[in-house]
Symmetry: C2
Subunit: 380 residues, 2 copies
């Protein structure tokens, strides 16, 4: 597994950021730990099980920090994420429909000591993961996924959802643990979420009543995202939440008020490579370093914002070029100067890199691989 | 180097596409070779040097196919691309400002047998790459990059451009070879490019006259992109062109008429993982598999189009979910069914994967690594 291979470069003593080749991903470890602590405290205060989604960091070393700070287990999307994280965690939820024989097989082939749960929304998925569980001679736990307003995956009708849970209960190799939902449609600024959270809460109460009436009371009610993180306890019946972005945060999270800009732990370090065209500066971080993600749920132009010059945004992207709009700033960078960009959507950025550098103050003190990036050793 | 490591899975005999785990990138080898042949023939017919940009495929095996079909050298953007491609080519242009000591060092450290050229637009770049060239005891060839309308990088003023070329000529370790430009602002449908190409041609003629008058006639005039590929010969004085996308093509290239949909060699193979929400189907290819790239320069909704159902587009993306809009189609997929997506921008897609599968007809016959993905062994 790549996570266990040595990381190059080795950071054997603190080094200056100036020595790091750009573009690079930099994590302020103090900020990251503050973010983890805050979520851990929130979970404890409200008696919620914190099951962070690893898609944001894809790194066992960060997962260990989450587990050490109050997380009760991990959430993954891909089989490879689950495989990599099984090295550091024995309670893994694959919050993704286990469709396709290779995917179902990989999930069911996680180490036997790992308690594996999947979220699903179809008869096809139940039958496929049950077959894989039986072939692997293990029990796979199941959340039935409900669509409570996001309209992406999830069973919309409660009769169908209850019937699906019954099919899970009847399937050899599976165990019905509860229900899951993802409030990804609640992207408003935190203080404007009231009406959507009320609708969501009502739908959830209604769903729980139906499961109760059918004699299948969910042991777990799993929801939660970073935009709604601090209001998870307002949702009736929720026992578990699965934020991902909160570990690093990003410009979008700050824009909607779920964190401040000072809580953004991850930046992209880039170098100004050209100022030849007047009125702009070009950096060596483009779409292949930043992604082409908008700020969602709040205002925010461009594809990222400079940490040291928040009035400067990345206004245009090519694959390896980012154009800084200097119109609102008196700052005039020179070629060779370095900048740090707070990205709009941090999960997409991390997925583009093989390595992450950790800093304390201005010193680079650690380096770790994005071990679960990509799809991993293929089942085919 | 990763390119030289064995590729898993090994394709030792033709296999069905059905055996490939999704999401996956699939290249129709017949289409790819047809694309390479066409560009090679065009270059020969117009006596142009074809120097394909490897950013699109990042794979030595594809570069070898380009070199075998008429390419005279390769173009790279990153030091890692140049390092990987130096295994199969001894004439490499790094068409990117060589700014930052690590980047300049990596470029100057390519194997001595490789003829290395860089494109640059600043005094800073000249001085930095000259120092790196001298330290490596080699000659680095230089194109002075002009801004002929794209307004990204490139010297806009001709007096400055000529002065920069003189500084290159005077620098020990460097040799002035010519000028470069990138017509990335010409993105119209091919038949509507006339007025922009005329302006570009005029600017080019003017620039060449100024270099001639200064006694620094460029030996090479390097331009060209995929959107303008088939009209490169209309630009006065151009000796070399650097298309990248043409190897695979994509939905954007087809939309502007620089190819047909039948020339799109690369697709993303995905599985339908949910049809729970009415009116749509969800596939396992999201932003982390397709990128969030728009069609540019022509009409085209969504983030990709189905190969077998061109009236179906990927209308919404999450990180690992793509939502297919079924409104304009009578096709109703079932969970577990597979689809192939023609992506909007293929260069971004390839950069997200570690492996590519090659097909002849319906059979998977080869598999190669995206060897130059990421940033490679770091100089720090």
């Amino acid at each position: 597994m790549r996570a266990l291979q040595p990381v190059r470069p080795v950071i054997d003593r603190p080094r200056s950021l100036d020595t790091i080749e750009t573009p690079a991903v930099i994590v302020d470890l103090d900020r990251m730990e503050r973010n983890l602590d805050a979520a851990g405290r929130y979970a404890a205060a409200h008696n919620l099980a914190l099951r962070p989604h690893v898609k944001t960091h894809k790194a066992p070393v960060v997962a260990e920090a989450q587990l050490a700070r109050g997380a009760r287990g991990l959430t993954c999307a891909t089989p490879f994420e689950a495989e990599v994280m099984s090295a550091v965690c024995d309670d893994i939820l694959v919050a993704y429909p286990p469709i396709g024989a290779p995917r179902a097989r990989r999930v069911a082939s996680l180490p036997p000591r790992v308690r594996v749960t999947v979220a699903l929304d179809s008869v096809h998925a139940v039958d496929e993961i049950a077959a894989a569980a039986r072939a692997a001679r293990r029990t796979v736990h199941v959340y039935v996924e409900l669509d409570l307003g996001m309209h992406r995956v999830g069973v919309p009708g409660l009769a169908d959802a209850v019937a699906l849970a019954a099919r899970v209960q009847a399937a050899q190799g599976l165990e019905f643990d509860g229900i899951a939902f993802y409030p990804g449609h609640v992207r408003e600024p935190v203080m404007e979420q009231d009406s959507k959270l009320r609708v969501l809460g009502d739908a959830l109460e209604h769903a729980l009543a139906r499961f109760d009436a059918a004699g299948m009371t969910p042991r777990v009610v799993s929801g939660g995202s970073t935009p709604t993180l601090w209001r998870t306890h307002e949702l009736p019946g929720v026992t578990e939440f699965r934020p991902g972005t909160y570990v690093y945060n990003d410009r979008t999270t700050a824009a909607i008020g779920a964190c401040t800009l000072d809580d953004c732990a991850l930046t992209v370090l880039a170098t100004v490579v050209s100022t030849a065209v007047p009125g702009q500066a070009v950096i060596d971080a483009g779409t292949k370093s930043l992604g082409r993600e908008p700020v969602r749920g709040a205002d925010g132009e461009g594809f990222g914002q400079l940490l040291e010059h928040p009035d400067v945004v990345v206004t245009r992207l090519s694959e390896e070029h980012g154009v800084l709009d200097l119109a609102r700033s008196s700052w005039r960078p020179v070629v060779g100067e370095r900048v740090r960009i707070v990205p709009n959507h941090v999960c997409i950025v991390v997925h583009l890199y093989d390595l992450v550098f950790g800093t304390r103050g201005d010193a680079v003190v650690s380096c770790w691989p994005v071990a679960a990036r990509g799809r991993g050793p293929r089942a085919d």
